[in-house]
Symmetry: C2
């Protein structure tokens, strides 16, 4: 059963996160324009509070929990970015957060989630079901479960990226002909695509995924939600979802063009490019839209293209092999 999200929900989310989330800038880099032969607008959500866009959706959702229910806390499952977003939103709102994270999550993400004040419960990605673990905690505490990409209020919060992007692009006088977004469960992509439907109605929209986790690319092609063959095996730890979210897919089925796919090596090279040339710290999963441009998965010649860099929570050692 799918719940709907509207442009109005995104506008309301924007009002709720105002003053808490960062209105990230829309950046241009001549070195990137020259590399791809077009005009690229970069929305660097690595500069967002907690280091990824996830804070937007988490704060929007948590601030909608009625006062009476807040004392019972929130629970989330996440490989690390939604974890930090929920933990930080809970800290601001004075709520207890419990986060169910895979034991093989990047150590920086486990550590940062704890630093934001959350209790972390780890599980074995291969043997255990994280949603069951979370459901059990919710039953015990009466806590509110916050899904990373299925929750309509989370999708609405992520959609604020799209509203900002469209407004900033207009202010800069550069209207994107295509927008590329790194895609896991599709909460951000759905929110952005929904915002652009009204705010930049003629632009194309592309999801970008890592090889082996191209569930959106395949699902969009055949019109129904397909699963990925494996649950791990890509360096893009932020994008390892089982299949498209139901609500996200509803929106993207209507709105998205062909899904793009990059290899782990292309994602890693894009993160290294971001470090060297853009001076931005980007995690591999946050770099796949940039990777799609740099490895010519889409024709940029003479085009205006906008990309969202979704996160920067990368273990330093991940970048080392590319940069030393």
């Amino acid at each position: 059963m799918s719940a709907s999200v509207s442009r109005q929900d995104i506008a309301e989310a924007q009002a709720r996160i105002d003053g808490y989330a960062v209105k990230t800038p829309l950046l241009r880099f001549s070195v990137l324009d020259e590399a791809v032969g077009g005009t690229v607008l970069v929305k660097p959500e690595c500069l967002q509070r907690t280091g990824s866009f996830k804070f937007r959706g988490a704060f929007n959702r948590l601030s909608m929990i009625p006062e009476a229910e807040r004392a019972r806390g929130v629970v989330a499952c996440s490989s690390g970015n939604h974890a930090q977003g929920v933990a930080e939103a809970a800290r601001i709102l004075g709520m207890k957060a419990t986060i169910v994270m895979p034991s093989d999550a990047p150590s920086i993400k486990l550590q940062r989630t704890r630093n934001f004040g959350a209790e972390v419960v780890t599980y074995d990605r291969a043997a255990e079901d994280r949603e069951e673990i979370a459901a059990e905690i919710c039953r015990r505490n009466g806590a509110t479960f916050v899904h990373p990409f299925e929750d309509p209020d989370v999708i609405a919060g992520q959609g604020t990226v799209g509203v900002e992007l469209a407004t900033q692009a207009r202010e800069m006088g550069v209207l994107p002909e295509a927008v590329l977004v790194c895609t896991g469960g599709g909460g951000l992509s759905a929110g952005v695509a929904l915002a652009l439907e009204t705010d930049l109605p003629t632009c194309r929209f592309h999801t970008v995924e890592p090889e082996g986790f191209d569930d959106y690319a395949r699902s969009l092609e055949c019109g129904e939600r397909l699963s990925n063959p494996a649950a791990s095996g890509s360096i893009c730890d932020a994008l390892l979802t089982e299949r498209p979210g139901e609500n996200g897919f509803e929106i993207l089925k209507r709105r998205a063009d062909k899904g793009l796919v990059v290899s782990d090596a292309e994602a890693r090279a894009a993160a290294a490019f971001a470090f060297r040339e853009l001076k931005l710290v980007v995690e591999p999963g946050g770099a796949v839209a940039l990777a799609a441009l740099l490895s010519a998965k889409v024709d940029c010649a003479g085009q205006n293209i906008a990309i969202v860099i979704t996160g920067g929570n990368v273990d330093f050692s991940i970048l080392t092999s590319e940069l030393e």
Copy 2:
């Protein structure tokens, strides 16, 4: 003999660099505000074209060279950031650039300067005089010498950082009570201080330098230009100047408050903080103003403080020891 720079010169520089230089954003980070107990505005010139503010002054100066003289090219001395700024400005304007760089400059800076199309001439920092080498090339070619911080048109170009910062701070409704700028020869600091004299007249201004290269701090205290005891020995390679520039010192003597000084360890820790928490790639010399805040060289409690992060051209290995 000192040449004067006026607020009008900065306004003219702003018009010249428009469309070539990046108008870098003014950023806020809750994690930084919480770390220092105040409100911090960050002007990240690491996101500037070529990875440092130096492109502003270089492009302003080079675009003022009369058409008839452009074919004879430009010459500059630089440890690497001015080098890249001049090289890129020359490339845009179709001029030949020759850059005299110390043989021990960070390899990323040597390589990037060549990538921007310049010819690099290396010298031995301990045994040779770089200005003599540059003067000889100018005599031979009739090229224009572009001094990294003494040239009034370079100072005017760097001053555009101050104009942007003041405008953006007003737009954000956060008026800085102090502005901290990483300082080598003082071209940027002088330009920014000059801009703020009219644009934010009540705010304090602090130079920030690494230990052993605190020539501005000592010179401002005694009212005359003092030299540093050594020519090398700090990790902040961008800030290793012999003594304050004559023109910069004239302006800063009038305008600057107490000069601040940080250790190499504090600069390195600040660069690591920028990587981990701000998701910005910052070189140690570009991180000294941030280091001054993080190591409490200035009282931030309840204050609005603006800092300029001046550059991000760092060899990856420099960050490694702090981050692994």
